[in-house]
């Protein structure tokens, strides 16, 4: 049982928001000690695994080009493309953003973000669509549109990223399984991630369609009430 102390340290450390790298290292070292490894063996295990898993951090090689593209307005071009979307309802704005975000993630483009896209673009566009359709949009509806807009970013990001062959998650799966004696390749894992990406899009589509319907019902009821 005492060997589980490392798991406990990871849970407690992450829950308390302590320094992530420090927590992981302390958990590893303590686990090694209670598991009967010597300090030398712990350092050797740590160093060997760190070196064989260097490929997980290979994305560093892509940072200069992305940085230069950002310098020349990559985000601005993407924002313009999203702004040009003509969608009639709040739900459709959010669904279209989700699929764009998901495709970008599948191509390893970090072109999303709540700060960069949801707050300045997607939420105002979804709200705008609702205002065109229903004239008056109450505070509670605005709150719901905010929640669903932010969710669209997370859905696209989470379920799209592993389609990219060298995504952090894909390489983590390959590396962790290899440490446990199971051999898989990054190509296999990224291909196996496609169905969930498609299903996540369908789930988003359904949620936003239901949301549009709910909005129409609720605001129609409100308008009828106001007229009486």
């Amino acid at each position: 049982m005492i060997r589980l102390i490392g798991v406990l340290i990871v849970i407690a450390g992450f829950a308390l928001r302590l320094d992530t790298i420090g927590v992981v290292l302390v958990a590893g070292i303590v686990t090694g000690l209670v598991g009967g490894l010597s300090v030398g063996e712990i350092l050797t295990t740590l160093g060997t695994a760190f070196t064989t898993n260097r490929y997980m951090t290979l994305f560093l090689i892509t940072l200069p080009v992305i940085g230069i593209l950002e310098r020349y307005g990559l985000r601005e071009v993407a924002a313009r493309a999203i702004r040009s979307i003509k969608a009639a309802t709040a739900g459709r704005v959010m669904t279209i953003y989700m699929i764009v975000r998901e495709l970008a993630a599948a191509f390893s483009l970090r072109l999303g973000g709540h700060v960069q896209f949801i707050r300045p673009l997607v939420y105002p566009m979804a709200l705008g669509a609702a205002e065109v359709n229903f004239e008056e949009v109450d505070e509670e509806t605005k709150e719901l549109i905010k929640g669903h807009s932010a969710a669209a970013e997370n859905y696209g990001n989470f379920f799209g990223q592993n389609v990219f062959i060298a995504a952090g998650g894909v390489l983590l799966i390959v590396g962790t399984l290899a440490e446990l004696g199971v051999e898989v390749t990054a190509e296999q894992v990224s291909l196996a991630s496609i169905p969930i990406a498609v299903i996540a899009f369908v789930a988003t589509l359904i949620q936003n369609m239901l949301f549009d319907r709910k909005l129409a019902k609720r605001l129609a009821a409100k308008q009828a009430q106001a007229e009486n």
């Binding site: 589980l4 990871v10 849970i11 992450f14 992530t20 790298i21 420090g22 290292l25 590893g28 598991g35 490894l37 350092l43 295990t45 160093g47 695994a49 760190f50 898993n53 260097r54 951090t57 290979l58 560093l60 090689i61 892509t62 940072l63 200069p64 080009v65 230069i68 310098r71 307005g73 601005e76 071009v77 993407a78 390893s108 483009l109 709540h114 949801i118 709150e143 719901l144 905010k146 929640g147 932010a150 969710a151 997370n154 859905y155 989470f158 379920f159 062959i165 998650g169 894909v170 799966i173 590396g175 440490e179 446990l180 898989v184 390749t185 990054a186 990224s190 169905p195 969930i196 949620q207």
Partner: protein, 304 residues
């Protein structure tokens, strides 16, 4: 051949780290600049020297890097993006062709991974190099921006860039200490032996729950795969790449439902000024639960 090419690419990664160390060093405003410089130099060392020195030395270097981050010695130097006006002007001039280099990385990585024996990682490196060349020709940017903007983005990612690598190392230590066996023994008391469906449910739900507690699916993957995945799913004959891919995204279903993943759920609520700080989570819960059920069904029928 593949290994030689990869080693060259790791040297390039090391150079990005060294550039980051340099720009931290020249930033005299940065209070913790010596700690920050030390961190990036040490990381560069592990990239370049990794296979050429005794592993224990790399282990010690990694511990030293942990001491630096735990004592808050690693911080962000001020590297500037171009001005709003500059970006606006050039984004209008260059337009959608700015996407070409960005897409090149993924397309080359896919083609090399799929149609040659070199693998996707070498493809990623080739893609990055070709994309950089295209971008330089297209923008006519000064060459100094290659290290500068690379460092700028690496600083934004920060020290946690090494987290996946570190978690894999944690997994190795867990394996060496037999943590997986202990969890497996504990769970085997509850889980019916040899029941594939029970194993699949325990693996997917375990990933989601652990991710909710820790706020981090990567960390959960190392622990839950060793403790539940290996004895109850992989050892029963699951297709490992399908089960692995699904397990991690099952964890992401947990990410959608936890305030512990603050940067995805709580910070956006604050940015959007919602009345309820859990608004984003509330929106996500129905989809997250539906997706988790889909994961269980898919793993049960597709991986076996």
């Amino acid at each position: 051949m593949v290994n030689t090419i990869l080693e060259i690419m790791y040297v390039l990664c090391g150079l990005v780290c060294l550039a980051t160390a340099y720009y931290s060093y020249v930033d005299t405003e940065l209070k913790t600049r010596y700690g920050t410089v030390a961190f990036w130099v040490l990381l560069a060392f592990t990239f370049v020297a990794g296979p050429h020195v005794p592993p224990a030395i790399i282990g010690a270097v990694v511990v030293l890097m942990g001491v630096l981050t735990a004592t808050k010695q690693v911080n962000i130097a001020s590297l500037m993006n171009s001005t709003d006006a500059f970006r606006e002007e050039h984004s209008l001039k260059l337009g959608n062709q700015l996407f070409i280099p960005a897409l090149t990385i993924a397309v080359v990585a896919f083609i090399v991974g799929q149609f040659t024996d070199l693998g996707g990682l070498v493809g990623l490196g080739f893609g990055a190099i070709i994309a950089t060349i295209i971008a330089m020709v297209m923008t006519k940017a000064s060459v100094k921006y290659i290290p500068y903007d690379g460092s700028r983005l690496l600083q934004q990612v920060g020290a946690v860039a090494i987290l996946p690598q570190l978690l894999a190392a944690l997994g190795a230590l867990f394996a060496a200490a037999g943590v997986g066996q202990v969890i497996a023994e504990g769970i085997s008391g509850i889980l019916p032996q040899g029941n594939i469906l029970a194993g699949v449910i325990a693996y997917c739900v375990g990933m989601a729950l652990f991710t909710m507690i820790m706020g981090n699916a990567f960390a959960a993957f190392a622990v839950i795969t060793a403790g539940i995945g290996i004895p109850f799913v992989y050892s029963q004959g699951a297709n490992p790449w399908i089960a692995g891919a699904l397990a991690l995204t099952a964890g992401y279903c947990g990410t959608l439902m936890t305030p512990m993943a603050a940067n995805f759920n709580i910070v956006p609520a604050a940015i959007l000024e919602t009345k309820n700080r859990n608004r984003v989570i509330i929106s996500q819960v129905p989809v997250a639960i539906a997706m988790l059920i889909v994961h269980i069904i898919l793993m049960y029928f597709w991986a076996f």
